[in-house]
Structures are given as structure tokens and as C-alpha cells.
């Protein structure tokens, strides 16, 4: 049978347009089936109890990356987190760290997108395109399997200790995206393309304590990308062999 239980959702409320009112928690008590996800409960609270509550959502199936937040202290997507997973009937929701809050659980992602755009997140080629596809072996394609899965939800960005002390740090997602192209056998960017991250604001700034890997809902490993790019930079410096 489906069981229904009362849950208390404590949600951080703040409105950047009314900065005089300090961030504070508001509690909502709601009866739900325990298989329900945090996102579905948020939607019910917004619809039935408090129309002023703001949060982002879209696909509700962990592919669009809209609903990253802090759920009982853990960064995750609200849509893939079931309310029953905590063994507690109280669930605390806070906005993603390392961002300015716009309203409630909605944060200003502009710095995240700026970092993403800065690393030139697109295939760069100098050779002319063939008539058909650019050949790529199954093995070459498999090198980017893991990094291709990134949904740009910014869970890693919120979890990153470096960003919490240095907002100019590129952050895990942007570095993983850069490696996605560097590892792609079709990409022909020059070694100088790594100059932008060859510093303390880039790959050398990472503490390598793997918080981003823990936070990623899609099993991407940004720290591995940091380490991979560091190796390429060193090899290129020592042997001048480029970054491929």
C-alpha cells in the first residue's frame, strides 16, 4: 500500500529586492506519499500553500539541471531526491552556495555561465570539414563518455571550497567542459587554449578534495579533469608535445 506521512519542510526565504528582511526559514507542514520527490513536494507547497515561494524546475527527471539546491545539508537535484531517503520527517532546503540569492531557492547563475563561456566550450577545428562525418573510433568516442554527461546544474560549483574563498576561480564544471573538448579526437585547439586555465584561477587553484565529484548527480568527475589538464600542461611544458 501507499503510505502517506506528514513532513515538515523548512525552506530558506530571502528576497534580494527586499534586503532589509534577513534570510530566514519558513516551515510548511504537508502530507505526502513517501515515494514523492522533493521537487514534487515543492510544487505542491507553491500551488496549495504559498504562491510566493520561488524555485526553478523543468524536466523533473534529472536531465535539465534546473533544480540544484541544498537538501538536508547535501547538494543534489530536488527532482531526483525522494523525501523518504532521510529517515526524518523534517527536510531543510537551502539555495545553492557560492551564488547570490535572487529569491528563496533561486540563485543568480551569471558567474557560472561566464566561466563556462570563457573556456570556449565548443569544438574548434582548423581542418576543413569532410563531406560526411569526421571519423572517430569507438575508443576515441569513449574517452569523453564521462564528461559529456555534464548537465550544467552547478551542483559542483555550489560544493567547491575554492569558489567559496575565490569567486574568480573557474570552477569544476567549466574545467570539465574544457577537458571534454581537449579529449575529443576531432578538436584541434592549440596548446595556447589552455593558457586561460594555466594559473591559480584555473586548474592550479583546485584543492583536489573531490567535493565536486561527491556533489555531481551525473557521475562526472571534474577533479579528474583538473588533474588531466594539469598533466597535459606539464607534458607540453617539458616536452612541447601539445595538449592532444
Amino acid at each position: 500500500m501507499i503510505t502517506e506521512n506528514y513532513y515538515t519542510f523548512k525552506i530558506l526565504r530571502y528576497d534580494a529586492k527586499e534586503p532589509d528582511v534577513e534570510p530566514h526559514f519558513e516551515s510548511y507542514r504537508i502530507k505526502v506519499v513517501s515515494g514523492l520527490t522533493v521537487l514534487m513536494v515543492l510544487l505542491r507547497i507553491q500551488e496549495e500553500i504559498d504562491g510566493t515561494l520561488s524555485f526553478r524546475s523543468s524536466c523533473r527527471s534529472a536531465v535539465c539541471g534546473s533544480c540544484a539546491m541544498v537538501i538536508n545539508g547535501k547538494i543534489d537535484l530536488a527532482c531526483r531526491t525522494q523525501v523518504a531517503t532521510f529517515g526524518s520527517n523534517t527536510i531543510v532546503l537551502e539555495p545553492l552556495p557560492n551564488f547570490e540569492i535572487i529569491k528563496d531557492l533561486v540563485v543568480d547563475m551569471t558567474p557560472f555561465w561566464n566561466m563556462y563561456e570563457k573556456i570556449r566550450p565548443y569544438l574548434i577545428r582548423t581542418s576543413p570539414d569532410p563531406e560526411k562525418e569526421i571519423q572517430q573510433s569507438e575508443e576515441e568516442r569513449s574517452r569523453i563518455d564521462q564528461v559529456v554527461n555534464c548537465i550544467l546544474c552547478a551542483c559542483c560549483y555550489g560544493a567547491c571550497p575554492v569558489l567559496s574563498r575565490d569567486p574568480e576561480y573557474a570552477g569544476p564544471a567549466a574545467i570539465a567542459k574544457l577537458e571534454r573538448f581537449v579529449l575529443d579526437s576531432r578538436d584541434e585547439r592549440p596548446a595556447s587554449a589552455l593558457d586561460a586555465v594555466n594559473n591559480e584561477k584555473g586548474v592550479w587553484g583546485c584543492d583536489t578534495i573531490l567535493r565536486c565529484i561527491d556533489a555531481c548527480p551525473k557521475d562526472v568527475r571534474p577533479t579528474d579533469s583538473v588533474v588531466g589538464l594539469r598533466k597535459k600542461l606539464i607534458k607540453n611544458r617539458l616536452f612541447g608535445k601539445g595538449i592532444k
Binding site: L43, G51, R60, V63, I102, P121, Y122, V148
Partner: protein
């Protein structure tokens, strides 16, 4: 007032492809309700069709055969000139996306891999594991970043400004700041997606309200074939999350409570790879006749992948496995997946020709919000991603041609007076009324799912029309609880609801009037196709009294004469 040469509404595949095609030459603005990478194109799993003939079993595949499969799949309601164009362009756009960086899965010879899909005579579905929409949308988004496309994220369009023959732009709403902003444009393209969310059970994202179609309709633009709604055979029970057709393309079975592969009783040749309309009806029939399985969340059928083995599932369907683990704690390597049919795709939409042009000069539509029609009464799997990119590209050509050839009259006064109207409407929403938007929407969705579903009949459709009339009446008393206009999602829902009601009305009315069964539209009281009476498109246009006026339009037939649809 903002102004652009071209205004694109929607940041999914169709909108981004059009923007990328136009931004070098024109001042383009792209408005998107969500940040573009969050668009619903991202959720497409299985693949994109193109007759590349890469598969060793498909060396003689051609775009003509792809067209034939598409037309037959459409139950002959597709316009064949448009389907031909799409299937020819398919080959070019798949290579184009690959050249722009799309990481397609590969065959051992280094070419783009292709898998079998439902209703297709050849394995021609190109894919990237089961995340094809994800990689395509990322690739086009990356291209848009490269080109520097001007994006207005988290802006919503509230109205289209049409003087009765020409489009002057839109009235937009900046969600972050709560401002109503008129946007003047010489050409406007809607790429706003489908209307799945008028149904209670839908695989669609929450943003797929169909409001773009409703906005166009309320501005006097004709809409087409709204009654044709695709129900996907395999959605994960309880969550309605899509389980891609690739599960069956890779060899998955559908079984009932007796462990029987029941498709052999319905379509013995195609089995699980019959087109979606047929498989969905077969599953629903098994459930209705007591051969489904029981779950607290409803009756279901098993999608069994176990015989494919762990290696194949991990290599070809990793996303599906993760969804099953995340959402219902089932590992498809060890257990069958409980599924049921669920609303999935909108065949109908804004009436356009093969150049994405509508009845209104300067107003274009592409992607799922448009009805060209290339899908007719039933879309084949792998043809929706294809449609978005092909017609996004063709829209960019058509708009370029229009801007070069026409002297375009612009009317700011019309935009300003429309802005005033919208502000009055918003003022009313936050100050008057007493009914929450979600109660009205919930009732609308229940009506659509229970009375305008897979199997339809006159009495139920008549009841649906009455129900919709009643919820429309209640909408007059809708109320939004906060008068702060910024980041007010309830306000957004209330505004969209008005358009959803119109969309639902035209779906139910089209289904009520069409007294035949064709593709996804199945009438228990008229269970066969009737070409003599109904080989025609349904057109709905809002009349002066606000009620839909229904007419019809000829289906364009080139060389594929309608015949019985057998698989």
C-alpha cells in the same frame, strides 16, 4: 521598447538552430522561459533519423525510404512534400551537427552509429547512447555561445502582436524583474514546444504547457491537427518519465502478467518495434483486459531488458538504468521495468507550410509547436529531434528571404496599446478573483487524461468539451496570491493557464469532430480510417466570439498513395 530584426521565442533545438543561422546577418534576440540548456529538447533519448546508410544492414537505405516510412507512420496525414524535404535535409543536418561537435556514438569503422527504431524499414536512427537530445542541445547551445547569440533567459512571452495580417513582435515578461516589455521585431519565430502538460500523465517537462500555440491562436493564427496527441508506450510508472524506444530498438521485450510477449498477437512481424500508436493501444488493451500487473501506483506492463545483458545495457542505455535506479530503485539489469503508456508528443500545432511560414506575415513557427505537417497522425520515433533542427534551419532561410524581399511596416502604437492591455490583465489577476490557478489546471488535466486519451468516443469527448467550458468559466475568477510581480511563478502559471485552456479546447473539439480512427487518434465508435471523408487536416481559428471555428485543409500527396497501414 526593445527592438530586434528577428525575435526567436524558445531556446530548444529549433530556436537555437534558427538563431545560429540568422545571427551573422541580422540583429537577433532569443527569448526563453528557462535558460536555453534547460529546454525540453534535452530530454530526448533515443535518437535522430537520417538515411546515412552507415549500418551494415542498411547499405541501400535512402531518404526516399525514410520519407515512405514517415508518411506510412503518419497514417498518410503528413504533407508529403514537407516529409520529403525533411528526410532529404536529415542527412545534411546530422553531418552538420557532427561537424559542430556533437558526440554521436560510433560504429567500429568510425562512422556515426545507427540503431533500429519503431516503424522504420531500416536501422537509421543516429544516437549518442540514450542521451541524444542532451548532446544535440549542448552542441547547438555551444554553437550559439560561439556565435554570440543574444539570449534573454527567464523571459516569457505573454502575447503576440498581430494587426490582422502582419506580426509586429511580442509582449514579453521579464520574470526576474517582473516587468512587461514590448519587443518589436520585423520577423518573429515561435519555437515554443509542445502541449503535453495539458494532460495529467505526460512525459513532458513542466515547461511544456503549449502556451506558445495558445498565444498564436488567440492572436488569430490558425492551428492544425490538434487532436493528434502521441501517447508513448513506455513511461516509468508513477513518475511518467520516458523510457526511450531505444530500449526496444536494442532488443527489449514487452511482457504481460503471464510473461507473454503479447505484441505477437497484435503485430506479429514488427512486434515491439511497431509504431508508437499501435504499441500504446496494444499495451492499454492488455491492461484493460486484465493482463497487466498490479502496482500501488497503477496497472502496468513489463519492459524487460534483462536478456540484453549488463554490458549492452551499460553501453547503450546507461541513462535509462540511472533513471530507474534514481526514481524507483529498480536495476533493469536484474528486474523488468514497470511501464505504462503516457502522453508524450504533440503532432498538432501552429499551422505552417514547409517554409515555417504561417497565415500571418512575419510570423513563423518551427519544432514541436508547429504543425507542418511532417508527422501527420502519428510521429515516428527519431523524427522529432530531426524536425526541430531541420525546420529551425529552414526557418532561418525563410526569414532571411522575407527580410530581404519585403518592405516591412512597423507599428509601435500597436505594441504599446497591447502592453497596456496585458498590464491591466496582470493587475486583475493579482487583485481580483478567489480561485488558485492549480485547482483549475488539475481539473483540466484530469479531463484530458481520462476523456481525451488513447481510446476515445463521442460521449466522452462531449463530456470533455463540457468540462473544459466549465473550467474556462472558473478561469474568470482566477487569483494570484502575491502582488509582487518578479519571480512570481504562480503569476506565470495563471497567465499560461489561459492559453492551456484554449489548447485543450481545440484538442477535444478536433477529436470530437473527427469521426474516424487515424494514427494516434482512435475512436471506439469509428474504429477505421476513412480516407473519403477524413483525409484532411483539421484547422482551428479563433472566431470573433472567442470560440474556435473549424475548417479543413487538403493533405499534400506527391508519390505515396494512401494504402492500408500494415506492419
Amino acid at each position: 521598447m526593445l527592438s530586434h530584426d528577428v525575435l526567436i521565442v524558445g531556446g530548444g533545438l529549433a530556436g537555437l538552430r534558427a538563431a545560429v543561422g540568422l545571427c551573422d546577418k541580422y540583429d537577433v534576440g532569443l527569448i526563453s522561459k528557462v535558460y536555453p540548456i534547460r529546454s525540453h529538447s534535452i530530454a530526448a533519448q533515443g535518437g535522430i533519423n537520417a538515411a546515412l546508410a552507415n549500418n551494415p544492414n542498411a547499405k541501400d537505405d535512402t531518404w526516399e525510404k525514410h520519407t515512405f516510412d514517415t508518411v506510412k507512420g503518419s497514417d498518410y496525414l503528413a504533407d508529403q512534400d514537407a516529409a520529403e524535404l525533411m528526410c532529404q535535409e536529415a542527412i545534411k543536418i546530422v553531418y552538420e551537427m557532427e561537424h559542430w561537435g556533437c558526440p554521436f556514438s560510433r560504429f567500429p569503422d568510425g562512422t556515426i552509429a545507427q540503431r533500429p527504431f519503431g516503424g522504420a524499414g531500416y536501422p537509421r536512427t543516429c544516437y549518442s547512447t540514450d542521451l541524444t537530445g542532451h548532446v544535440l542541445l549542448n552542441t547547438l547551445h555551444e554553437r550559439a555561445v560561439y556565435k554570440g547569440v543574444r539570449v534573454y533567459p527567464e523571459w516569457f512571452v505573454i502575447a503576440l502582436v498581430n494587426d490582422g495580417g502582419q506580426c509586429h513582435g511580442v509582449i514579453a515578461f521579464d520574470l526576474k524583474n517582473g516587468e512587461v516589455i514590448p519587443v518589436r521585431a520585423k520577423a518573429t519565430l515561435f519555437a515554443t514546444g509542445g502541449y503535453g502538460r495539458v494532460y495529467f500523465y505526460s512525459t513532458n517537462a513542466l515547461i511544456n504547457t503549449g502556451s506558445g500555440i495558445g498565444i498564436a491562436y488567440k492572436a488569430g493564427v490558425p492551428i492544425k491537427d490538434m487532436e493528434f496527441v502521441q501517447f508513448h508506450p513506455t513511461a516509468l510508472i508513477g513518475t511518467n518519465i520516458l523510457m526511450t524506444e531505444a530500449c526496444r530498438g536494442e532488443g527489449g521485450y514487452l511482457t504481460n502478467k503471464d510473461g507473454e510477449r503479447f505484441m505477437k498477437r497484435y503485430v506479429p512481424n514488427a512486434m515491439e518495434l511497431a509504431p508508437r500508436d499501435i504499441v500504446s493501444r496494444s499495451i492499454q488493451t492488455e491492461i484493460d483486459e486484465g493482463r497487466g500487473l498490479e502496482h500501488p501506483l497503477g496497472k502496468y506492463i513489463n519492459l524487460d531488458l534483462r536478456h540484453l545483458g549488463a554490458e549492452k545495457i551499460l553501453a547503450k542505455l546507461p541513462g535509462i538504468r540511472n533513471i530507474c535506479l534514481d526514481f524507483i530503485g529498480i536495476d533493469p539489469i536484474l528486474e523488468p521495468i514497470p511501464i505504462m503508456p503516457c502522453q508524450h508528443y504533440s503532432m498538432g500545432g501552429i499551422d505552417t507550410n514547409e517554409k515555417c511560414a504561417t497565415d500571418v506575415k512575419g510570423f513563423y513557427a518551427a519544432g514541436e509547436c508547429a504543425c507542418v505537417s511532417v508527422h501527420g497522425a502519428n510521429r515516428l520515433g527519431g523524427n522529432s529531434l530531426l524536425e526541430t533542427i531541420v525546420f529551425g534551419k529552414l526557418a532561418s532561410f525563410a526569414i532571411d528571404e522575407y527580410l530581404q524581399s519585403s518592405e516591412i511596416r512597423q507599428d509601435e502604437g500597436l505594441l504599446i496599446s497591447k502592453k497596456g492591455e496585458i498590464e491591466t490583465k496582470i493587475h486583475r489577476l493579482v487583485n481580483e478573483g478567489d480561485e488558485k490557478p492549480y485547482t483549475i489546471l488539475a481539473d483540466l488535466r484530469k479531463t484530458m487524461s481520462s476523456l481525451v486519451g488513447i481510446f476515445r468516443k463521442r460521449e466522452e469527448l462531449g463530456q470533455a468539451l463540457e468540462d473544459i467550458e466549465a473550467v474556462k468559466e472558473r478561469y474568470r475568477r482566477v487569483h494570484v496570491s502575491s502582488s509582487k510581480l518578479y519571480m512570481n511563478h504562480e503569476l506565470l502559471n495563471a497567465i499560461e493557464l489561459e492559453y492551456m485552456l484554449e489548447v485543450a479546447h481545440t484538442i477535444a473539439l478536433g477529436a470530437y469532430l473527427r469521426e474516424e480512427s487515424r494514427g494516434a487518434h482512435f475512436r471506439r465508435d469509428f474504429s477505421t480510417r476513412n480516407d473519403a471523408g477524413w483525409l484532411k487536416h483539421t484547422i482551428a481559428k479563433m472566431g470573433p466570439d472567442g470560440e474556435p471555428v473549424i475548417s479543413s485543409k487538403k493533405v499534400i500527396i506527391t508519390k505515396y498513395q494512401p494504402m492500408e497501414r500494415k506492419y
